[in-house]
Symmetry: C2
Subunit: 354 residues, 2 copies
């Protein structure tokens, strides 16, 4: 335990516990990063607990990473020791296919290397994520964090941020557009902030009236209670775009009814079967439902720069890494506004005290 440099699960039913691993020697283009903060994402929990197929143990999650460059390989040109940088969901990809060369590494045709639970392209070793005090990543997958951003509150931008930014940016959300955000959690709260910062009229769509006040504080101009039939009927055919962050399968019809002609709803949360949709709900009004997966490296840097300019960060609750298991329990009950972020100083202190 004295040597612990991360927290990992050793089996599907094991809590996260102190864990030691060797830092990899720097390879060409490698950047070594002392992790300062790491956001806590639902994917971390699902992966470590084996909810999705393919978890390899020990599983050390975390893909919302902000840190300081400690060392770089001599071949590195983009970063130097001391830089405040970030790492998101990916640490490598083939860098050659049409998706990678277009800057959509998350859709790499040969499979991106994800930040955890993914085989390293050179050694086959399984990647270990950000619930650690350090990480080594090749420079093309390292992002620059604007000086103006609080590094702790910037951490969730690397997954919750880019996941919501990406579709809003793709559909050119801006002034004159009415945008709904369905679901107010880690993703939803970033969606509200981004859509408002982009200049759209933002409406929080939620089943929970008590979330209204908070949604307005985050930037929503209005709140629509999805169980209020009269309000839903009045809002019919009025939305240009809906960002759907609801994390489970759910009936899409009420949301489709809110869209204008050629309106688009993008799903970023529900990696699950969606109940049947009637073809007529798409045909009437020429509507569309789509999905969106995180974002490529160029889009992620663009998002961070936008955040630096507009002062957008996540609303966070900082925890020491020793509280990660409790944080996961609370996250499952949506008892967090809106993202836990681990202060990695807690891990260094644990080691020093041992």
């Amino acid at each position: 335990m004295t040597q612990a440099n991360g927290y990992a699960a050793t089996a599907a039913d094991a809590p996260l516990a102190p864990f030691h691993f060797e830092r990899r020697a720097l390879r060409e283009h490698d950047v070594a990063i002392d992790i300062l903060y790491c956001g806590v994402c639902h994917s971390d929990l699902h992966t470590a607990r084996g909810d999705w197929a393919g978890t390899i143990y020990p599983s050390l999650p975390g893909h919302e990473i902000v840190g300081r460059v400690s060392e770089v390989h001599p071949s590195v040109t983009r970063y130097k020791a001391g830089d405040i940088v970030a790492v998101g969901c990916m640490v490598d990809s083939c860098r050659e296919c049409r998706e990678c060369t277009a800057g959509f590494e998350q859709h790499c045709l040969n499979g991106a290397t994800f930040t955890y639970n993914s085989p390293d392209r050179q050694t086959g070793d399984i990647t270990l994520g950000g619930y650690s005090d350090h990480i080594v990543v090749r420079e093309e997958f390292v992002l620059r964090v604007p000086d103006s951003l609080d590094p702790a509150a910037a951490a969730p931008l690397l997954c919750a941020g880019i996941t919501t930014w990406s579709p809003l940016s793709r559909f050119k959300i801006g002034p004159g557009m009415k945008v709904g955000v369905a679901g107010l959690g880690g993703l939803g709260h970033m969606g509200v902030k981004f859509a408002a910062a982009m200049g759209a009229e933002v409406v929080m769509i939620t089943t929970s009236p008590e979330k209204g006040e908070d949604a307005r504080r985050l930037g929503a101009h209005d709140v629509l209670i999805s169980t209020d039939k009269a309000a839903m009927a009045e809002a019919r055919s009025s939305f240009d775009f809906i960002l759907n962050t609801i994390p489970v399968g759910h009936d899409l019809h009420p949301y489709l009814g809110l869209l204008r002609r050629e309106g688009v709803m993008i799903i970023v949360g529900a990696v699950e079967p969606l109940p049947p949709v009637h073809g007529g709900a798409l045909i009437m009004g020429d509507k569309m439902v789509g999905g969106s997966l995180i974002g490529g490296i160029p889009a992620t840097q663009e998002m961070l720069d936008f955040c630096g300019e507009k002062g957008v960060v996540a609303d966070i609750e900082i925890i020491p890494i020793q509280q990660i298991n409790e944080a996961w329990e609370r996250m499952q009950k949506s008892d967090v506004k809106y993202r836990f972020v681990i202060d990695m100083a807690s891990l260094r202190e644990e080691r020093a005290a041992a």
Copy 2:
């Protein structure tokens, strides 16, 4: 029977039979049309047989109409007697809402007046369609048929044509794009012709290998058999756009797998519940599924003009109106290449002989 000027169903279980009705007196902006040809659409059958809710009897269907102007109200400015014109699925709308003023009358917020089984906006009388030797329609809903087009083969353009043209045009299908057309019936055969005429690489996607030759004759550059797992795997992530004309609910996953990043599949046939789609099938690859309903009047005229320029018409089988019930039986078995068109001279002859 001697007075029959149309064929109508008098009940859900009744065959179409000769029927007489009074032509309405010309109102402001009205154009009286002697119908020359009327295409036979699946919607005609579904409506007349009461498969969908709301059929009012007697039901006289037909919304793929080409005819000659016989008379116009003095207020009419766009047409004169003798003009070859067309009427599609709509004969009126509110003409004031944001959809109508934008030229999307099919999505009129106050409800378009459809060519049959729809209440007239002034009298409330139920509209009667094109299985008749005449129709009266206000000039804004009358289309001009280019001289170069065979009027019989042009008739199906008014529904099968515009329904497939509309999404292909909206997504700017053209050279350099790979377009799939799923389903080879009345709509699918127009989809293949249009996508090819627009300059795209067109692939017919079908369960029926025997349709391949015909698809190529219609303009498809390749044929993909959707039950051939190896071929489907090889075609994965290669389509920019899929026009889905399959008329019944079906599993969308095989088609979604064919789409490239940000690829779009538009459903025009299945006005039915679609089986559950996994959120991941949309999220992985940032894909979209949408729908499209016929097209507005400006788009319909644009489509007809395009057809005049490119020489695009439907492949048809001409029938006398006396064979309409047999034609419906054959249509239900997909035994038509690819659209029945009624030659309305048969109705005039029937009356003259009586």
